[in-house]
């Protein structure tokens, strides 16, 4: 009975690499160390609704077809489309992402990642102002003040606090939680906020105000701060600024509360400026709490290959990037794409109604191990192996550290990497014929 140690959990951006997996008869029968999300990922694959065979929609219903037929149908859609959206590629390997970028280039498509509905504004802010960062290992060993701003790791990254942040013990932080100050800034008292030393409740959408106030104080201008700011009493804001200035090592972990609220990328931009101000007094870094386990990897691979981290438009023959124009949601809301290929992501569940309404009108190719809301509007469905369980590959943790995911069991399904290669080959063949 093989027991595989140090497997990587391919669910969230924490990419925990200490999972022990027991395999019997090519089935995972026991998981140790994973959280409830990770457990569900590893064990769920035998219970969840796998897409068992390729399918094509005929007369409104998805009907099983041989693999070659699905690839051919998908390639035809791509070749006949004048403006294809390629979206997702974040719950898969960097190798698959690289293939997807090649396919997007070949077909003159726009390719975008799930950062479009997640940390896209963070990437924009990082391009504008930079993002002073550190590895999670550094934070575990050094950070004495940890802020969770607009994120809720108890729910979204359940092992983050134990492995890397507030509760972890490191070289210079051997007292663990007792030696660290944990602060939560949020609009509601989340389960993470309940564990904090201080919880700062801000008015929803006013993050930029609070960050700007903190910057003013850190830069010696507390006189400009009104009695309450962003719904927070001045005294509390002053105290927070003091704590930050007097820390040895500050890390601000931030999430969707910052990127999805009013001011969007300007929030990250201001946060980055605050970090740089704090670095006049102490050591401070910021890290986005990335959701999909390899959304960071998409950004890395896309940046090496095209110069941009997401929302890359190849229609001009060279990479062009302008997220408000070439982002997946903007394209769909404007009704621009005439076909879409969606892999390792689920816009059906995670895009607003107006974007989905357009997706429902155009041919959609889906590549995914599991049926999900996108399947309901897909026209060609190609099942794939689960990366990190049935296929190996590289992924990047939220701090941009790359980890190699193992293959734990055999699978009858092709990997995303193979599917994308087959598709590219078919597209080239059809184009030559044309």
């Amino acid at each position: 009975m093989p027991v595989i140690k140090d497997a990587v959990c391919s669910l969230c951006g924490s990419l925990c690499d200490d999972i022990t997996v027991t395999v019997e008869d090519n089935k995972i029968t026991k998981i140790e160390n994973a959280c409830i999300l990770g457990q569900s990922k590893f064990v769920g694959m035998f219970k969840h609704d796998r897409i068992e065979t390729p399918m094509i929609r005929k007369d409104g219903e998805l009907v099983p077809v041989p693999y070659e037929e699905a690839i051919e149908a998908a390639a035809k859609i791509l070749v006949n489309s004048r403006r294809t959206l390629s979206y997702g590629w974040c719950s898969t390997s960097c190798e698959a992402v690289s293939g997807a970028i090649q396919l997007a280039e070949e077909t003159g498509s726009v390719i975008d990642s799930t950062a479009n509905v997640c940390h896209g504004p963070t990437a924009l802010a990082a391009q504008e102002k930079g993002a002073p960062s550190a590895t999670l290992g550094e934070i575990k060993n050094r950070a004495d003040v940890i802020i969770f701003w607009g994120c809720n790791p108890v729910h979204a990254h359940p092992r983050h606090m134990v492995r890397y942040s507030s509760f972890s013990k490191g070289l210079f932080t051997e007292k663990g939680r007792k030696g660290r100050k944990m602060i939560v800034v949020d609009v509601r008292k989340t389960d993470t906020a309940k564990l904090a030393d201080s919880y700062i409740e801000i008015e929803q959408g006013s993050d930029l105000l609070l960050v700007t106030a903190l910057r003013s104080i850190v830069n010696g201008h507390e006189d400009v701060i009104p009695e309450t700011i962003a719904g927070v009493p001045k005294a509390e804001v002053l105290e927070l600024a003091e704590t930050l200035k007097n820390a040895k090592f500050v890390c601000i972990f931030f999430g969707m509360g910052v990127t999805q609220s009013r001011s969007k990328y300007k929030n990250g931009d201001a946060m980055s400026s605050l970090i740089s101000d704090l670095n006049q007094h102490t050591k401070a870094v910021m890290i986005g709490m990335r959701g999909h386990y390899n959304v960071t990897g998409f950004g890395q691979v896309a940046t090496w290959e095209t110069g941009f981290p997401m929302a890359i438009d190849f229609s001009k023959g060279y990479p062009y990037y302008n997220p408000g124009e070439t982002g997946a949601n903007d394209l769909l809301v404007r009704g621009e794409p005439d076909a879409a290929i969606i892999a390792a992501a689920d816009p059906g569940a995670h895009f607003p109604q107006k974007a989905i309404r357009h997706l429902a009108k155009i041919p959609v190719i889906q590549i995914d191990p599991y049926a999900n809301p996108t399947t309901e509007i897909a026209d060609v469905v190609i099942p794939s192996a689960i990366v990190g369980i049935e296929a190996e590959g590289t992924a990047y943790r939220m701090d941009a550290i790359s980890l190699r995911m193992k293959k734990l069991i055999e699978s009858k399904f092709k990997t995303d990497e193979e599917i994308v290669k087959d598709l590219t080959a078919k597209v080239r063949e059809l184009k030559r014929g044309a």
């Binding site: 669910l11 219970k47 929302a311 949601n329 109604q353 999900n372």
Partner: protein, 127 residues
């Protein structure tokens, strides 16, 4: 009785545990609800498990009522997923990101029942 609320969406552990099991009833249970604090629920005359209709300028959706004392008054939370997205803002303000937090909403009790995932998605195909 209708109340006005500021609607946000976000992750929960149950939603996350069903990320790859969205056709299961567990996903529906994990996402098709709206959390308000109990004072707001009382103003609506709703108890946990009752159906609420949430309306914004972008659409309407029926979800179950849930209490969460962590929410300040007037703040409504629906876990990220197709039910939340039926009413959140598609406007990205030129930076790619739709308005998933801070959408003005009206909430009222209804006799209708929340649609299960496939039925909800089918509406997009019929539109």
């Amino acid at each position: 009785m209708k109340i006005k609320a500021n609607l946000i969406s976000g992750r929960t552990a149950d939603q996350g545990a069903h990320l790859e099991a969205k056709t299961h009833k567990g996903y529906f249970d994990a996402c098709a609800y709206c959390e308000l604090n109990s004072a707001d629920l009382e103003r609506l005359g709703a108890s946990e498990g009752d159906s609420l209709k949430v309306t914004t300028e972008f659409g309407e959706v029926v979800v179950f009522a849930k209490a969460n004392e962590g929410n300040p008054e007037g703040l409504a939370f629906i876990p990220m997923g197709p039910w939340a997205n039926a009413v959140l803002s598609p406007d990205t303000h030129g930076c790619g990101m739709p308005g998933f937090k801070g959408v003005p909403a009206e909430i009222e009790v209804t006799d209708e029942k929340p649609l299960e995932m496939k039925a909800l998605m089918r509406k997009y195909l019929e539109d």
